[in-house]
């Protein structure tokens, strides 16, 4: 990889992906919890999640829990692979062969 993955490299999307990667595989995180971790506004976070979803990096699921709407986000396998490639790219810059 000669260039960083521009979808992941954006600062807020990088935090979103890092937060999702920290979860056990196939685990989901609630939107409100994710918002607190990445310290973003609702609108801003929603827009960046849509970008990641269109790229196939995250999956968004909406349902009702205790009669309240709930949005949960998880990382797809493709997202996990792309994020790992991005991390490897960063490490290669710091430790060139």
């Amino acid at each position: 990889m000669d260039q960083p993955d521009e979808i992941i490299h954006q600062p807020l999307r990088l935090k979103i992906m890092a937060a999702l990667r920290a979860l056990p595989e196939a685990d989901r995180i609630e939107f409100v919890r994710l918002r607190a971790i990445v310290n973003a506004t609702e609108g801003n976070l929603g827009a960046h999640i849509t970008t990641l979803e269109k790229a196939g990096y995250v999956k968004v699921e909406k349902d009702f829990h205790n009669n309240r709407p709930r949005t949960r986000v998880s990382m797809t396998k493709q997202g996990r692979r792309s994020f790992q490639a991005y991390v490897d790219y960063l490490k290669d810059i710091l430790n060139p062969a």
Binding site: Q3, P4, L14, A22, P24, I29, I37, K91, I93, L94
Partner: protein
């Protein structure tokens, strides 16, 4: 445009920070039901033994058994969500702690009041130790629990059981609510 080394280092640092924060919040979330269950057990145990001390062993045995059973069920539910949990390990830890408390109380010849302080102080120490590795909220819980126990032991007089129901059980329940917050 390729990144510089500084930019790469900053990005990796951000990933590490976010990873740590996420893991901590996930641990907090998983611990919530356990604090609620054991907070309720402590409120029940201390309160009932204060009003009916003659049934002390019965109340504590039934409370601890119920708490352990709930904890195993809760742990298994969380295990289904992909987290590691082993029912027999949890049972073994509970039995080990119960044995340790019983043996220590016997060897040190602790009276009832001292046992009622010794057990929460031990747990306060455990929470402090867990807090060092898994998140500061556990350490804060341990510190407050230790202080509340010591204050009650020296100042609550005949109402130490009631004090521990409110302060000891209360600290666990409030910690449960606190851990739920993001």
């Amino acid at each position: 445009m390729p990144l510089t080394q500084d930019e790469a280092a900053a990005a990796l640092g951000e990933i590490e920070r976010t990873d740590r924060q996420t893991t901590e919040l996930q641990v907090y979330e998983g611990a919530v039901p356990f604090f609620m269950v054991w907070g309720a057990v402590w409120v029940f145990g201390y309160m009932m033994t204060h009003f009916m001390p003659e049934y002390r062993n019965l109340f504590w045995a039934s409370g601890v058994a119920t708490g352990t059973l709930f904890s195993i069920v809760l742990g298994q539910r969380q295990g289904n969500g992909g987290h590691n949990f082993s029912a027999w390990r949890y049972g073994a830890i509970s039995a080990g702690l119960a044995g340790f408390f019983a043996l220590t109380s016997f060897v040190l010849k602790l009276n009832v009041r001292e046992i009622d302080a010794f057990v929460p102080l031990m747990f306060a120490g455990i929470y402090l130790a867990i807090g060092v590795f898994a998140g500061t909220r556990f350490a804060v819980c341990g510190a407050i629990l230790a202080i509340a126990t010591a204050v009650g032991f020296y100042n609550a007089g005949d109402h130490f059981g009631l004090w521990m129901a409110a302060a000891g059980g209360g600290v666990l329940l409030l910690t449960g609510f606190w851990l739920r917050r993001v």
